[in-house]
Each structure stands twice: as C-alpha cells, then as structure tokens.
Symmetry: C2
Subunit: 214 residues, 2 copies
C-alpha cells in the first residue's frame, strides 16, 4: 500500500485504476459529503470519514494526505462533473459554451451553500481554490483550441499569454459567483447574474480572442 504521495496508488498502466481504488475514493468522498450535511468541516475528523466510508483509517492516509486533500478532490470532481453535464458535447470558445459554463458555476456554488451545514469558514477557502482552478483549466483548454488564438497578440505590442487570460476570466466568473452565493438578501437569480457576467466577458475579450460574436 506504501505511503501516501509518490504515485497515485493502483495506477500502474496509464489511465487504468484498480476498481478497489476507485471504490475507496468514491466512498471517502461520499462520506465527507454526507458528514458535511450534519456538522461543519472543522468538526469532522478523519476517523469519522473512514468509519462512515467503511474504510480503515490507515487506508484513508494511503489516498489522501489529510481531510483538506480529500475535500479538494471532492470539489474538483463534483464541480467538473456538474459542469460537463451542462455543457454541450464539444464545448469550446463560443458564446453558448461560455454562457453555459458561467451559469453552471453559479448553480454549483449556489447549490453547495445550501447543501453543507454551517459551511465552517474553513471549508470555503478550500473549495474556492478548487473551483477556480478547475474553471481556469477548462477555459485555458478552450482558448488553446480557439482558431483565432494566434491573432490575439497582434493588437498590442505586448502579447497576452492565454494562461493569464484564463486566470483572469476564471477569477472574474468564480469570484463573482462566490460572492453572490454568500449573499442573503436582494439576490438576483443565477440566470440573471450569469448573463451579466457573460456580457462583460464578451466585451472584455472581443479584441483579445474574437469568436464570441452572436
């Protein structure tokens, strides 16, 4: 079973993972999500998680360094899953893809806050990091496949790296959605907010990476 980090455990040949590993990961994630409905993240011990997952405490450490690493994985995977289920089969640098992506972020964060109990204040920053990272990864992927990506550098003497653009956009979307999701009163709907953010981003990127025109 070895230590914890090093290599992912059970992943000898590319892509294929031992079903036991898949199962254990799934059980641990599910256990954490269940416990989050009952107590705050701070009050959840690794023993709690292992017990709920029908997994030995030692096994937990074989997969995750600590509960933060588990939470990180949970958010990454659930968010990715939530997003891809809403996106078209072949998303990319198009108005419709971006619209769906943004509204998926709003819905995910909105749902998350009513799902977990008091949220904890310890769980939030962790979750935020994971969502923003995943979001940036998706956007960068789209940007790299955008046909006009090479022309992005022409308008100005100093070219804008796509990595940076993805970062900026991801923070814009995510930050806005996170703040909105924590608001209690006078809240616009997720759809309304998404549309506003979308328009801003379309306007902001039209000279950098065209292709979003309606």
């Amino acid at each position: 079973m070895s230590t914890a980090e090093g290599q992912p455990l059970g992943e000898s040949a590319g892509g294929h993972v031992d079903p036991r590993v898949r199962r254990t990961r799934r059980l641990l994630q599910q256990a954490l999500l269940e416990l989050l409905q009952e107590k705050s993240f701070a009050d959840i011990s690794i023993q709690d998680i292992a017990e709920r997952a029908t997994v030995n405490r030692t096994t937990f450490y074989a997969h995750f360094g600590d509960k933060y690493a588990l939470a990180d994985a949970v958010i990454h995977e659930r968010f990715l899953e939530a997003v891809t289920s809403k996106l078209p089969a072949t998303p990319g640098w198009q108005l419709e893809s971006l619209r769906l992506l943004i509204s998926a972020v709003f819905e995910f964060l909105g749902g998350l806050h009513e799902y977990c109990s008091p949220a904890g204040g310890q769980f939030d920053p962790l979750m935020e990091r994971a969502v923003q990272q995943e979001l940036a990864r998706i956007l960068l992927q789209w940007l790299r496949q955008a046909p006009a990506s090479s022309s992005a550098h022409r308008w100005s003497s100093r070219p804008v790296p796509l990595e940076t653009l993805a970062e900026v956009m991801s923070w814009a979307i995510f930050g806005c959605a996170a703040q909105w999701s924590k608001r209690e009163e006078g809240k616009l709907t997720a759809g309304e907010m998404s549309e506003l953010v979308l328009r801003i981003l379309v306007e902001g990127t039209r000279r950098l990476v065209p292709g979003l025109e309606e």
Copy 2:
C-alpha cells in the same frame, strides 16, 4: 478467499465481520436494488450486478452462490430492517406489537411492488419465501417469550407447538399482504387491511396464547 459456502467468509471470531466483507455485501445488495428499478430480475446478470457494485465477478461468487441467494439476502435484511424500524424498542406478544408488525408487512410488500419494475415473476416467489421466513422467525421469538405460553396446551388434549403457530400466523399475515399488494383495483388501504387481519388473529389465538386483549 476460498470457495463460496463453508463458512460466511471473514467471520473468524463471533459476530465480528471484516469491514470489507460488510461493504462488499452492502454494495452487491444496493446494486441489485438499483438494477431492479431498471430491468426485471430475469434480465439481470451477475456481471451486471458485479459491475454496478464496483466488485469483481469472482468476488460475487465468494459471497453468494447465485443471484437468487443475493436476492434472498436482500429481502431478508431489508424486511427485517423495515420491520424493526417500525416496532417499539421491546416488542413482544402484545396487541400493539402485533398491529405494528402486520402493518409493517403490508407497507413493505406494497412498497416493494411499486419499487421494482416488471417484478419478473421470477423474483416474486423468491421474495415471498424470504419475507414469510423472517416473519415466522419474529413471531416465534415473541411466542417463546409470552408469559402464558405454557398454558397454551391446557385447552385441548393435543398441544399446539409454538413453531406451528408461528408458521400459521406468518402465512396468514404474509399471504394476505402479498395477495393484496398484487391487486390493482378496489384496494383497501394498508391500514384497513392490517386492522382486519389483526382482529382475525387476535380472535384466533385468544384461547391458544392469551395476552392480546385490549
């Protein structure tokens, strides 16, 4: 891992079972229940079950001889669970316990029929056997603890074994509930049916095993 039968697997010292075994059994049962909502019992292969449960096909055979054995275990356990959740903490040979037991049977069978898809016709007899067996076991346990059980033999020259009484009662309750659950039209409610069956049983056992008077 050894063959299949012999001893329960993983149960070295009394009562304690390896968490992996508990988990695998649970996953296999859950998988069968899920699949039963999608196809009929006859259309479900062991491969289906193993795959859905994230368990190797070989592992299935380490726990259950075939899918019938699994279904048997599912019904036994789910029924027992459903019943004990409805009964008082210390049930026994009392009117209220019997009332709750009977209505639990009606509700369980009623729920089962709307849960599984076409039911299969192959699954039904199997399930029926398991429910009736569990029911008889519970009743016998109550009868044995009934204070007046020794007087049961006095009224007649030929004494009635409690085992037989439990059998008769279990079939009366179960058979009635099973037939009712398959009826489509002009169905009384589960509560009404339970009450009718209860009265009959109270009347029928008052001279054999008293103690049910209201």
